[in-house]
């Protein structure tokens, strides 16, 4: 355990740690471009130069291993001058087109130019010109002029994505990045290079120019794409989600998220929504209605059937709280011990992040007391596995179905078996095949519009936060994050007129129906349900929204899986906007 000093303060390092690692752990910011905590050390940007006593030259903090009694100076004149010189070299051929560049506002080069450079250039010659807007893969465009050749993207492709197709080409100041001939960087992790690129050289086709970083509000959330449940951050402007990006969570997703979760999940929140409850009229057409009528009709119709003729469905796509409420309703009024939910297993695990289970909360629904039902391969026309729900429906015993938000009728066999169902009430956020089949549709808030808890396949519980407002916003613990534009907009400003949908969290409707059936529930917000769950379910014992925080907690039986967060980061490594929300 070598002891050494940085700027006069003594620190203790683990054997083999580099100066920058110890500095990061202790909250000292040593500027760096090429070093990334989750990648190998390249030592090629020279931004991390520090003075080490008894060595003739400045040393790189990312590649120098701490030894006993080492004396490191980061603020000395030589070190400062070293950094300034490196910045001057890096800026020689940089186009300085920040006004056009998407990275502006969260760019390391920009930040360091303020903190660690002289602020003027002695280079009057013509700058180098390189390829701009060059596609490296289906999602990524590369701007050669902005690249500072840190090689983070190359190392990511090789070490994390295991698709080593990116490489440096040419030499000297003509060096640039390219994909090896006839290859494209097209794997499902590719967009992470956009986050780790310290400058704006790699941009996302999905996001390009949609908004400036400082115009968006950023809210911590969880990806609903699969049972991994990556920690994410949602960027919102004018009540519309513009992008999602990963958040470092060592226990779930490290610094990464997959492209599928990044670009395919959020559009469902923006488009194709069900806006307000609906009910089929006598002619079989869905018409807008109000919540109380919808709940009354649902309750009255369900009452008409025998308990065994009613099927209540949970869902792995919605938080634990909704499943808990639905199960409570089923127990109180329909004499059921447990309710099934339909799992969505599609394809295979990718052995990096993406899981085959394409719902975020199978574990949570199971812990709440629901039972996973079969699996329905939607792909390749495979024969569906044998399941109880399908069997029940096929036996024509089931006459009425009440389901939580889940688009399960995409399965053709289930859809066919649904023909004999006389009454179907469901929760839905989007216009889907399931919502179109329903007699009563309750419009629910999406994951990005609500509070709630998802438990991932390993038993790691994380809480959601509302990032987008609905007409009926249940304010959780904190105020909703709002960007400056949202906060100060008036109804006369076009940019403050983002559409707010008429939607509520799923448990509201369960409560409305249950009270129509005779219960006396009085939940006011999601947190109350979670408190009740934490008090009654040993797996959630001692948990609260507060204790879950932004990184989540393991359920009781998985306590051994905790890994401590490795770095107290000074600069967030992935896409963290330094001037995100607020004024």
């Amino acid at each position: 355990m070598p002891k050494f000093t940085i700027d006069g303060n003594e620190y203790e390092a683990q054997a083999g740690q580099t100066i920058i690692q110890v500095a990061q752990e202790n909250g000292i910011d040593i500027p760096h471009f090429c070093w990334h905590p989750a990648l190998s050390v390249a030592g090629n940007c020279r931004m991390c130069l520090v003075e080490v006593e008894k060595t003739p030259k400045l040393q790189i903090a990312c590649g120098t291993i701490v030894t006993e009694g080492m004396v490191v100076k980061t603020l000395s004149e030589t070190a400062t001058k070293g950094r300034e010189d490196v910045m001057e070299f890096l800026l020689i051929n940089h186009p300085l087109d920040c006004p056009i560049c998407d990275e502006a506002g969260q760019c390391k080069l920009q930040d360091y130019a303020f903190d660690h450079s002289r602020g003027e250039s002695r280079f009057v010659e013509e700058k180098n010109h390189k390829d701009k807007r060059m596609p490296l893969g289906p999602q990524i465009l590369f701007d050669g002029e902005r690249c500072i050749s840190c090689s983070r993207c190359i190392r990511f492709a090789e070490e994390v994505a295991h698709q080593p197709v990116l490489t440096f080409v040419h030499r000297g100041d003509h060096v640039t990045i390219n994909a090896v001939p006839a290859e494209s960087f097209d794997n499902n992790m590719s967009m992470n290079v956009i986050d780790i690129c310290p400058v704006g050289a790699l941009t996302s086709r999905d996001f390009r120019f949609k908004a400036r970083v400082w115009d968006m509000s950023f809210t911590d959330s969880v990806c609903p794409g699969c049972s991994r449940g990556c920690s994410t951050r949602i960027g919102v402007r004018n009540n519309e989600i513009l992008r999602t990006e990963p958040r470092n969570n060592p226990n779930v997703n490290s610094y990464w998220m997959c492209d599928y979760g990044r670009v395919e999940m959020y559009p469902a929140v923006n488009e194709g929504r069900i806006d307000g409850p609906r009910m089929k009229d006598a002619a079989g057409k869905q018409q807008a209605t109000d919540y109380d009528t919808a709940a009354r009709v649902t309750a009255e119709t369900l009452k008409k059937y025998h308990k065994d003729e009613v099927l209540i469905l949970g869902s792995a796509a919605v938080p634990v709280e909704d499943n808990y409420a639905m199960l409570k309703l089923a127990r109180e009024h329909f004499g059921k011990q447990t309710i099934p939910f339909i799992s969505h297993i599609v394809g295979e695990d990718d052995r990096l992040l993406l899981k085959a289970d394409k719902t975020p909360n199978s574990m949570g629904a199971t812990l709440a007391g629901c039972v996973a039902d079969g699996h329905y391969p939607h792909v390749h026309g495979e024969k569906a596995a044998h399941t109880t729900v399908l069997e029940l429906l096929r036996s024509r015993k089931i006459k009425a179905v009440f389901a939580l938000g889940d688009n399960f009728l995409t399965d053709p066999q289930l859809l066919e078996a649904f023909e004999h169902v006389e009454f179907f009430a469901c929760h839905a956020a989007n216009e889907t095949i399931t919502s179109r089949r329903a007699d009563v549709v309750f419009s629910i808030s999406h994951w990005a519009e609500r509070d709630g808890v998802f438990v991932n396949f390993e038993g790691w519980a994380q809480s959601l936060n509302p990032a987008v407002t609905t007409n009926y916003q249940v304010r959780g613990r904190d105020q909703l994050n709002m960007s400056r534009l949202d906060r100060f907009g008036s109804p006369y400003d076009k940019w403050a007129r983002g559409h707010k949908r008429d939607a509520r969290e799923g448990w509201h409707f369960v409560q409305l129906v249950s009270n129509q059936l005779g219960s006396k529930w009085h939940y006011l917000h999601t947190e109350q349900l979670f408190e009740e769950i934490a008090a009654t379910n040993p797996e959630f014992k001692g948990m609260s929204y507060e204790s879950l925080g932004s990184l989540g907690q393991p359920i009781a039986s998985k306590h051994s899986m905790v890994k401590e967060p490795i770095y107290q980061e000074v600069y967030q490594e992935t896409g963290a906007p330094l001037m995100g929300s607020g004024n």
Binding site: P99, R133, K210, W214
Partner: protein, 171 residues
């Protein structure tokens, strides 16, 4: 009380002298001032028949510079929108095939919010938004006060005076 009591409080009002209390002499004194001004040079202007051409330093409504090829100079960086104290500007960017790959699909200034501070002009890295000489702003409806690109884009040639002024001030 919402007003300054010093001037409304009768106890602090000045007592009139006897001469003033006679009333007529004071009225005649006032009228004399009026007559005197009839023969002095006039400073008023017969607006709108007679218009004023402000100097180049004047800060009228902000406009966008339109290049010779008819496209805007603005690259939709959003800095003017960020700096604008009353949040009058909305910029939405998109991609173009031109060398500067970013352009504003939507650029709107809410002229009911604008306070003519000129910060947008000062912050713009492209010299794409500048203060014009236009001071005539009339709307019959609040929605007319939101100026889009159609009203904001002004050919570069018409803005020469201000652009020259800015170039001079910058050096």
């Amino acid at each position: 009380m919402g007003y300054n009591t010093k001037y409304n409080n009768p106890s602090t009002n000045r007592k009139l002298t006897l001469w003033e209390k006679l009333y007529l002499p004071e009225v005649i004194r006032g009228l004399l001032t009026t007559f005197k001004h009839i023969f002095r040079p006039k400073f008023t202007r017969q607006y709108p028949e007679e218009r004023w051409d402000p100097p180049a330093s004047f800060r009228g409504r902000p406009v966008l510079v339109m290049e010779e090829n008819g496209s805007e100079r603005c690259v939709a960086c959003g800095l003017c929108s960020r700096v604008c104290p009353p949040l009058a500007i909305e910029v939405r960017a998109s991609e173009t095939e031109q060398l500067k790959e970013r352009y504003p699909v939507v650029f709107e200034i809410n002229m009911l919010r604008c306070i003519f501070c000129g910060f947008c002009e000062e912050v713009c890295p492209e010299e794409a938004i500048i203060m014009s000489k236009d001071y005539e702003l009339v709307f019959r409806d609040p929605s007319e006060g939101i100026f889009g690109k159609d009203k904001l884009l002004v050919p570069k040639a018409e803005l020469k005076e201000r652009l020259d002024f800015l170039a001079e001030m910058r050096n």
